[in-house]
């Protein structure tokens, strides 16, 4: 099974980190994964987005027009990318920054990542909340393996392990309780 995901937001919201973590996990787990970061001059201090495809089989195109899942981190990204969701796909909304909501019938999860992160004591882990939420929604990756990846990325900052793990769990919980 192949799952395509687009993650979009401002630069600095951790868009790339989320995508890479997911793909690294899949790769280490023997699955195929492609991570393609959009680049261009418009990127300077502007928006950021990336495409992640994870599959059991060989991956054809690493880019696509429509996606199984979207993670939208802010309102402009929502406006731009909401139409790229496949029929039957699911959106994860960072509701702290996205005010719009999908049309009826589109499945989505509104995650107030900043509030959740603040409640945990550090605004900066908002992206981990979203990461957790996605794992819960997609269901194709093992939570513990993802956590290992995050720890790996935090190498040298062991003090932050705990709060990041909590944020992932909180994201998962937010989806489950939705």
């Amino acid at each position: 099974m192949e799952k395509s995901l687009l993650i979009a937001g401002f630069g600095g919201q951790g868009v790339m980190l989320i995508g890479k973590t997911l793909c690294l996990t899949a790769n280490d787990n023997g699955m195929n994964a492609t991570f393609f970061p959009a680049y261009g001059t418009a990127q300077r201090g502007g928006t950021a987005n990336c495409t992640c495809i994870i599959s059991d089989e060989e991956i054809g195109s690493p880019v696509c027009e429509t996606f199984d899942n979207l993670i939208v981190m802010n309102e402009p990204s929502y406006q731009k990318f909401a139409p790229t969701l496949k029929e039957g796909g699911e959106i994860i909304l960072n509701s702290s920054m996205v005010t719009s909501r999908p049309a009826d019938g589109v499945k989505y999860y509104a995650i107030d990542s900043i509030k959740i992160a603040n409640d945990l004591g550090n605004t900066k882990v908002a992206n981990m909340v979203i990461l957790g939420a996605y794992i819960a929604v997609a269901g194709n990756l093992d939570v513990d393996q993802v956590k290992e990846q995050v720890k790996h990325a935090l190498h040298g900052k062991e003090a932050l392990f705990d709060i990041n793990m909590k944020a992932i769990d909180a994201g998962i919980a937010a989806v489950k309780s939705a």
Partner: protein, 67 residues
Amino acid sequence: MAKIEVAKDRCKGCKLCVLNCPKNIIKIGSDVNTAGYFVAEQFNPEECTGCKLCAIMCPDMAISVYK
């Protein structure tokens, strides 16, 4: 008497105006503009001399000065 106006959507919160105002009357505020930047603001206009140093220093031509 003088004052400055910061064009909110031009400002990128770089602080160069803050650093160069001889009267120390500019700060980065808590307002975020559409591009996501915290914007500079003059907090003590009565002390402003209209020296234009802040404006000439602004890389984004965000500051207008009035006298």
